[in-house]
Amino acid sequence: MSARKAGKPPRPIKVLLAKPGLDGHDRGIQVIIRGLRDAGMEVIYTGLRVTPKAVALAAAQEDVDAVGVSNLSGAHLTVLPETARSLEEAGVDLSRVVLFGGGTIPEADHRSLRKAGYRALFGPGTPLADIVSFLEEEVSR
């Protein structure tokens, strides 16, 4: 069992949340920012209209435990894989850093996004508690 699970976290889980591209539907990500903070995590948000490269750079610089990417404009098959690629190019090790996605992403697209490096994809109606427990489990593994 990890130190975190034993109740002695070395530091709070550090998550970068991002909305790369032009999509402005940010209700979901705003709710998740607050939800993760209320669960004791440290959250960095990139804001809107950022490139996948900028997201990757921030993730590398901030040495985060997890990166969450949101898309609700139907561009997920472009934006999400490109962010994964940029993260790898920036030297972010996706076997260590947990990459996850969320938004209006049809189940049919989940397989290719998992292949691109996304460990989980959260759809509309997901309880915050599910995302919190996913991060707690995956990050401490």
């Binding site: 139907g74 472009t78 209006t104 109606g125």
Partner: protein
């Protein structure tokens, strides 16, 4: 058989989503005014839908101008009576489809329009003089209006014959909808340019649709939706007055756009309160005595954010109740959502069912047979008063902050909406707020669904790129340079941006080129 999961208490809540307490019963209220009379609480016409039904106006756009044109014609053939164009994000923000920033977004949430030819294709075969066209466009409203005027001109339809609406509501973009491009003050300047242009060139056009819809989608409650929207409306009238746009004319052509949400009683009360409030604002704040200027005309759309990914068939019922609220609330125009909205872009069948929903309300339910059928009902009158009180308080607070522009720059409405969205989520998670099929009565065994969102062509972006680049090559480089220089000069010289853009559109400049010139002159908004 697997049981449904989660059974909440089987009694009514007695509280609206805005936090207004509802009593179990109310005594009869004072007799209300008649519909069609100031302050129009009960409707803007004495006979409401006995004169004419609301406009059946479904928001549509995806893939390409051609695919969207086909959907428009299909919807018109099915009895839709007005058009509403959804543009893709690059078009809404001012990038051509072949811009690197547009990759992945072309044709996704709407139709890509980068040139006047695209606009011609979009409207091919549509009778521009009889069908009104609503365009959900804000940062680039001036460019798209220019394309429309230029495309209509090529077809021999003069601008003054056009009927329709540009959303042109930038303030709510900074608050919640987020397709901003230029800085706030510059954006507001273009807004007023559009007011002036429409007044002179397209007198029957609605030059703005002040929108609460997106703030509600972002999480606001009903009182905030009306409060922030009317505060934006006040800011637009003040900006217009500063530029000496005659407000008696502008107020007649101003329109509003509301969300029609789940709580039937509060929503009906909201529409009634909004009309009463706006009428008094026009009269008392702006000193406009003519009651015709005080009629708040509005479009309504059912609430996309209430639609669930789980058991999407249930969404048909939500849409029906929400649409009924808009009709009972006296809307002038209505969009009913497709059941698959939480899954993706509505497919043809769900788009048809969505249109049918309002046709059934119009022709079968009898809800339109009398103006304001719920007027005088004790609970409705009490709720109308309560929404009105809440909104007055909110507008008072914004006034105290120095007005809506200042409030937005301080992030006040943004934070208030975020707060409310988070509260909603926590109430859903605690089970206090029930969402059937999601946190209650969920059939955990069911996987199958009848929803079938639209599937876009995988070659869409490549095809689009080819078309656009072919068009670019056909233009003479010298001519393009001249057009760019002319536009930059006119904008620098302070002339009406829309007039200049119409000439640029006629000459063949693209949306991206025009937006670049504007961005160079005005700057770009950064959060």
């Amino acid at each position: 058989m697997a049981p449904a999961s989660g059974h909440p208490p089987l009694k009514a809540r007695g509280r609206t989503p805005s936090g207004i307490e509802i009593r179990p019963a109310y005594p009869a209220p004072r007799p209300p005014d008649m519909p069609g009379e100031f302050p129009f609480t009960r409707g803007i016409h004495p006979d409401m839908y006995r004169g004419r039904f609301w406009t059946f106006r479904q928001y549509a756009g995806f893939g390409s101008a051609r695919a969207t044109n086909e959907r428009f014609r299909y919807l018109l053939a099915q009895g839709q009576t007005g058009l509403s164009v959804a543009f893709d994000l690059p078009t809404q923000i001012g990038y051509d489809s072949d811009d690197p920033l547009a990759i992945g977004e072309v044709g996704k949430v709407g139709v890509p329009i980068s040139t006047v030819e695209d606009m011609e294709e979009l409207l091919e075969g549509i009778p521009l003089e009889s069908v009104s066209i609503s365009m959900t466009i804000n940062s680039t409203a001036a460019m798209l209006l220019a394309f429309l005027v230029a495309a209509a001109g090529r077809r021999g339809v003069p601008a003054e014959k056009l009927r329709g609406t540009v959303q042109n509501d930038m303030l709510k973009e900074f608050i919640s909808r987020r397709t901003y491009r230029f800085p706030i003050q510059a954006s507001l300047g273009i807004t007023v340019d559009i007011f002036e242009f429409c007044r002179e060139r397209i007198p029957d056009w609605n030059p703005i649709s002040v929108s609460g819809y997106h703030m509600r989608e972002a999480g606001s409650n009903a009182v905030q939706e009306v409060g922030f929207t009317l505060a934006n409306g006040i800011a637009y009238l003040e900006a217009a007055r500063e530029r000496e746009v005659p407000l008696e004319e502008l107020t007649r052509r101003m329109s509003f756009f509301w969300n029609s949400h789940n709580h039937l009683l509060e929503e009906v009360a909201k529409f009634r309160a909004a009309r009463r409030l706006w009428a008094t604002i026009v009269r008392d704040r702006f000193g406009i005595a003519d009651p015709d200027c005080a009629r708040m005309r509005f479009h309504a759309q059912t609430a996309g954010s209430t639609l669930t990914f789980q058991e999407p068939e249930n969404n048909a019922v939500r849409v029906t109740v929400q649409a009924l609220a808009a009709v009972l609330g006296g809307t002038q125009s209505l969009h009913t959502n497709g059941i698959d909205e939480a899954l993706g872009l509505p497919g043809r069948i769900s788009a048809r069912t969505a249109l049918r929903t309002q046709q059934i309300l119009a022709h079968e339910s009898g809800a339109g047979d009398v103006a304001d059928p719920l007027g005088g009902a004790p609970a409705i009158e009490a709720l109308t008063d309560a929404v009105e009180d809440g909104v007055r308080k909110l507008i008072g607070e914004i006034d105290a902050m120095g007005g809506m522009l200042q409030a937005i720059e301080d992030g006040y409405p943004q934070k208030a909406i975020e707060e409310e969205a988070y509260r909603h989520q926590r109430e859903v998670e605690s089970g206090e707020r029930v969402i059937v099929g999601v946190n209650a009565f969920r059939d955990v065994s069911a996987r199958e669904t009848s929803a079938a969102p639209e599937v876009l062509s995988p070659t869409l972006e490549r095809d689009r790129m080819r078309v656009l680049q072919r068009r670019r090559k056909r233009r003479s480089a010298r001519r393009v340079r001249e057009l760019r220089e002319d536009l930059a000069r006119e904008i620098g010289g302070g002339s009406n941006v829309v007039e200049a853009l119409v000439r640029a559109a006629e000459g063949g400049l693209t949306l991206g080129e025009m937006s670049r010139i504007l961005a160079d002159a005005l700057g770009e908004h950064e959060e």
